[in-house]
Symmetry: D2
Subunit: 290 residues, 4 copies
């Protein structure tokens, strides 16, 4: 199939490569043109100007926020052909996705929100989890393409549902990480080494992805590799809070987590890695998780 790909960031770059390697013709576009040319040279995709992406049967967008997606959709709108499929892998906002879907629907273009989870490692390996919102028939058309980039591809509901699930997932990650930081710092200050505490927590009911993966592999050794920016997690948590608000669920915990990550992004900068958020609690505690 002829596939368009807009956005060659840390996630988009390997995902577009995987589509090409699955046998598709891939037209890549990036705001910084040189990046698209480099991708073309490296993997045999084709670097094209934005309007040329409209020639594809299916168009992927993989951008920082729904704002950029909306802008790109507006720019391409006059060029799009009826029957085209638009698949948005951005970690976007349900409400904005619904507005974008409506815009595209006026041109006979179906929209799916299809954010992914699994990090750059999962993107490289093609083992991402993909949570998809949109029309079931459109989902069935997109499935072979999505299975080229991810291993667990799940249709979760109508347009916006993919983005909602992604935002909730990341808010839970943020909540579980912050709670673990508070608890572990207290234990360290009471004389319990964090490694021992984690050994027990992870054999017990307090365990989470944060205690099993993030803290042992990134905090205890103080490596804090940059894999996902704090500014982006703070944005996802804002979307998560919007989702619970929109649904009318009183959610004191989601909202506290929202504010904690806003202030963490203020204190540490948007460019820090998301796991560095624990450094805010470390600063308050006057101790490190170790």
């Amino acid at each position: 199939m002829r596939v368009g790909w807009i956005g060659l960031g840390a996630m988009g770059w390997p995902m577009a490569k995987n589509l090409k390697e699955a046998g598709h013709e891939v037209l890549v576009h990036n705001r910084t043109e040189a990046k698209a040319r480099a991708h073309a040279e490296a993997y045999g995709t084709r670097a094209v100007p934005l309007e040329a992406v409209a020639e594809a049967e299916a168009i992927f967008s993989c951008l920082p926020t729904s704002e950029e997606v909306a802008a790109v959709v507006e720019a391409l709108l006059p060029h799009l052909r009826e029957g085209t499929l638009w698949i948005d892998c951005t970690s976007g906002e349900p409400e904005k996705s619904r507005a974008i879907a409506e815009r595209l629907s006026g041109r006979g273009v179906a929209f799916l929100d299809a954010p992914v989870s699994g990090g750059t490692a999962g993107a490289e390996a093609g083992t991402l989890a993909v949570m998809v919102g949109g029309d079931p028939a459109a989902f069935e058309r997109a499935r072979p393409l999505l299975e080229a980039v991810g291993r667990r591809v799940v249709h979760v509901g109508p347009v916006g549902a993919g983005h909602a699930v992604k935002a909730v997932n990341n808010t839970l990650l943020a909540a579980n990480l912050w709670a673990a930081a508070e608890g572990l710092l207290a234990l360290v200050k009471e004389g319990v080494p964090a490694g021992l505490a984690l050994e027990v927590l992870n054999a017990s009911s307090g365990r989470s992805f944060a205690t099993e993966e993030l803290i042992p592999n990134r905090v205890l050794d103080r490596s804090f590799p940059l894999t996902f920016k704090l500014g982006l997690l703070a944005k996802d948590v804002r979307i998560g809070a919007r989702v619970v608000e929109g649904a009318g669920v009183p959610s004191p915990l989601f909202h506290l987590v929202r504010e904690l990550y806003q202030l963490a992004a203020r204190e540490l900068g948007e460019e820090a890695d998301h796991v560095e958020a624990v450094k805010v609690v470390e600063g308050w505690a006057g101790e490190a998780i170790r």
Copy 2:
């Protein structure tokens, strides 16, 4: 070894049996005497009055709170012999344990706090995780006994450290469960079935014991089996909040969780199962996790 066991509740009953089956002579005592006699008949342990427990070389206590432990220690104090080992499996309070340890130390009795995790199923199977605080030499003496009731026995620090780790574990469980409830209810209201959402979360970074075990097996099917009382989790969360307070760690999240479980225990009663806490959020949302 001659071992004393005080407290034959849902956890203590099978743990005392496992000690007996590991070849020890076990003297059991329970406030309701008939329960001790039933245990003796069923497993060949020996039901004794409280003072007779002092004849044991090692004494286990497994009671609702540190208050009851302190009362039993006071009552037995005149009868205790130097060199006895006291092992407290209660989910108790670090501060109170330190006070109890000091009382016992005046009689030449070593104290270990050794709370367990793994529920009644783990207690039956002898596969509990045991987190132990206290003197390392005393821990080594206790280890064979603890390995008769648990599979993962970890010495985490000085007296009180076991109780601190247990309280933090349970507060994390409480936090992760409540956060998941808020997020899932919003998704359900937006048209995403909770089972699908959990499938994605559990393949992603938002996962926790709450999303992997509790909600799929107890909430989705509305079974809510009574395995651990909400009133006891609310107590553990109070202890968890005391631990972070005592350590001087500013902890907005732990304290919000504390208050949420206090109000849940008020609304649903102390006798409800701990997982029923999600029903408070369900009530606010006007929807069920399903």
Copy 3:
């Protein structure tokens, strides 16, 4: 001056009367027409269909939310004449007001957001505080009209600023009231009569409008008169949280207050009086403020 008035609710009814009594010709419109006719009969105003309001030089709107204002503006838009002044006394949303202002500006109509504070008593007496956002020249034109309905008329900033200040005011009210309820209930349970506690607080640094006015006059005597619906306060608090979000101020307290009033409105119903929110804390505490 010929003045239009849209919305004859608890606040709008006496405000329109005061405009008439200040010597203006007042065209009143209300969705339920009978209400407008009753106003005309009682005070000598003129009940008119919506389009006829466009004949006024200045148009007031006083509606439940910005949604209704936007709808009315759309409906009237084709009829509006250049140079008209639109004054919106609704407790609305800054963002939506900016959008409305832009729509009106396309027709040469200036928009001011001018929410009021002081309750129905202040509306009757013409002693309301009025916080106004918008162009300074438009404000000067509106001032004589606003001084007919309020005593303290303050221009606080550009379009939306009036609504922002109103929302912040009401969120502070909500925060101060809830905090007072928590503290007073604890004191009552410790044997301190609430009236005595208030006497001390109100002579000290803990005092607020909530402790000086609302609790003594509405809670202690259990009268809870319906003067301002809980559902409307919950809405204002949502707007307040939007304001701090939009401004990029990490605000854990505003967001907790937001969630507490959402759940209060769920538990007590939107039609309860706003001061009844304390009943939620009373329910949790198992005690009344008395």
Copy 4:
């Protein structure tokens, strides 16, 4: 009457002077002896060693926390005479006060907790509010002395009630101040000068001691005079949270405020003035209240 006074800090110094000026014989004691001698020289009181304070008929203590009060009581206990009255003006803890009262009661000494409100200005002028807990008969004996240091002297309940009311008062102050800081910073960032916003709030329902006194007189002019240390307010808020906990009132707001002031004291130091807490929010917002 012969009166003893222990503790000549910022509050104790002028209060002891006022007692002397009301015609009492005042024996002053201070840990730093030179301070007591200076007081004696300035006002004609008598500087004495600790034990000599036991000769007084009524003994005042005015110390940083209940810990110091308990230590002084233990030290004086062997010297105290039956029938002596002990009046503690410390901002102390209800629980500890009950323990101290019991110790003193064994020697026939009555204890009143009598914390004050009104700042150093009120202490100088003798216009403090005094909230008193303890036996009504003891209160009647103390009343003439208390009226020499304060204008509003209220008996609020049994021993501990005075401290509980003081702690609640200060927690409300802390809550109202923080909420105002969040809201005002958002308004400033939206283009509303803080002074204008305060003018409106203080004519409306959002007003509190924080918006009427503290922010206009100490924040807008950036003077932040040191009148009450942040570390002491953080301690009072901890006591306030203990009070609601002890009373069994689920209190999400009190507990969030508690954690916010703990982190503020960490960030700004215990020696900062309490009103400087707003600087934490200013730092998060990247803007000042002005």
